[in-house]
């Protein structure tokens, strides 16, 4: 029981590393296609045009498709973004 934790940690780390190496081998395909796409945003919300390319579209109107529509992606989650992202941005804008 005591050794189950280190065994699981090492097994997950090894499997994740292997999966990342396998994905890295597919990077040429991604690099080939990405310049043709509007953005690197993932195609996870194709049914909602305000969410398909969240980095590019409708910055001020997250739910502009109809009045009183439920906000599918409301702001203010319980988890903050990584601190280093804000830190880097602060340094850049100084």
């Amino acid at each position: 029981m005591l050794f189950s934790l280190p065994v699981v940690l090492v097994a997950i780390t090894a499997h994740a590393r292997h999966a990342r190496a396998r994905r890295s081998a597919e990077q040429p395909a991604i690099v080939q296609l990405a310049p043709r796409l509007p953005s690197s945003d993932l195609a996870l919300s194709g049914g909602a045009r305000w969410l398909r390319m969240p980095s590019l579209e409708e910055p001020g109107a997250a739910f502009a498709d109809g009045p009183a529509l439920p906000d599918p992606d409301p702001a203010g989650g319980a988890m903050a973004p990584p601190r280093e992202v804000w830190a880097a941005e602060t340094r850049r804008t100084k």
Partner: protein, 385 residues
């Protein structure tokens, strides 16, 4: 000491199994959300390196509007901008799918797509210029019942050509292109109903990416009222988007997390009469308080380690082997064209140790308190009950 701790757990098997199971489920839920959010951020970051450094959009009344090709020419003389590319793309609602597809016009001179393993196509070939062809995501082609060589008339307000499916995207790029239709720029204009001098946005390639901020300021000077999106800032967008969704899912799972706290409280709030008697017997047979505490700590460590290990293994299997059923739609959004590509784990050893320690440390710490209290009482009094 270890033999005693294992024996004690075996004597109270039901309680040990309940604690391990409860801990495992709570850890699995939290860890699965973290694993999934990290994997999504990683996928978005993977393609970010290959997109243009700066994208310029026009905003009219706070909404994106098309730019004119003349606007692109205005930007062509900016120092350190190697390439200015007006792009034609947009969304098209397909009634047969009840969903939007992303139609992207490919300019003349764009690098050709090749077939996997090193290319982005799984079947067919890239577009032939002027042949009214398209390349589509596998998910989209399947949803429309299209095979390479089939033709499709996309619904459009203006007359648009019949597009022949020349190729489909490989699963390696499915996460970015599941709903994408690539076609010639002229065909995209016809399908989207855009005038010949309109562009959806303008992409700039900067020779020195460190100068992107300076280029952005110059763009705003030359084209006031535009919105400039820098590639570097997209990292923040992804961190925000997936971090926020992970936060929401975690907030929704507060009841499960409360169960973990209740379990921990069960450890802290006191020992049962059997356990108290057992500690008293140990003290009466010569065990010191330190020995009793060590034994109890070892007991908690065994349960905590097993529960955490089981939880992490469950979370990993749930997200990366089973595809996160139940959790994926909550975290990544909804779509009629859902990419089925598996996600790649971004978790590393340090993160795993962090999660494990943040569970184990309070769990073991809380288990010491009642044992300390019981070990401090008179053994005779405790044995009498």
């Amino acid at each position: 000491m270890l033999a005693y701790a294992l024996g004690a757990l075996a004597r109270r098997r039901a309680k040990a199994v309940a604690l391990t199971g409860g801990l495992a489920l709570a850890v699995a839920l939290v860890a699965a959300v973290l694993f999934l959010a990290d994997a999504l951020r990683g996928e978005a970051e993977r393609a970010r390196s290959a997109i243009p450094d700066v994208v310029v959009q026009r905003l009219v009344a706070g909404r994106p509007a098309t730019l004119k090709l003349g606007d692109a020419r205005t930007l062509s003389g900016i120092p350190s901008v190697a390439r200015v590319e007006p792009r034609v793309w947009g969304y098209l609602f397909l009634p047969s799918l009840q969903g939007n597809v992303t139609v992207v016009g490919v300019r003349e001179g764009a690098a050709a797509l090749s077939v996997a393993p090193n290319g982005a196509l799984s079947a067919g070939r890239d577009l032939a210029r002027g042949a009214h062809e398209m390349v589509a995501g596998t998910t989209l082609a399947r949803a429309l019942g299209l095979r390479v060589g089939d033709g499709l008339q996309l619904p459009s307000a203006s007359p648009s050509p019949l597009l022949t499916l020349a190729g489909t995207f490989d699963s390696s790029v499915e996460l970015y292109a599941a709903d994408v239709v690539l076609c010639d720029e002229a065909d995209a204009r016809a399908v989207l109903g855009m005038a010949s001098d309109d562009a959806t946005d303008v992409a700039l390639t900067v020779t020195n990416p460190a100068e992107a901020r300076v280029v952005s300021r110059t763009v705003l000077d030359r084209l006031p009222g535009t919105r400039v999106v820098e590639k570097e800032l997209l990292g923040r967008v992804y961190a925000l988007a997936y971090g926020r969704r992970a936060g929401l899912v975690l907030a929704a799972s507060i009841p499960a997390l409360l169960a973990l706290l209740i379990l921990a409280w069960d450890r802290a709030s006191g020992l049962g009469p059997d356990e108290k008697r057992e500690i008293a017997i140990l003290k009466a047979t010569g065990w010191s308080t330190k020995d009793v505490l060590s034994a109890k700590m070892l007991e908690a460590l065994l349960v905590g380690a097993a529960g955490t290990a089981l939880g992490l293994a469950l979370a990993y299997g749930w997200v990366f082997l089973a595809g996160a059923p139940g959790l994926r739609p909550a975290l990544v959004g909804w779509s009629v064209l859902y990419p089925e590509a598996p996600l790649t784990p971004m978790v590393d050893f340090a993160q795993l140790v962090g999660v494990a320690l943040s569970v184990l440390a309070p769990f073991v710490g809380l288990s010491i308190v009642p044992a300390w209290r019981a070990a401090g009482t008179d053994p005779m009094e405790a044995m009498r009950g």
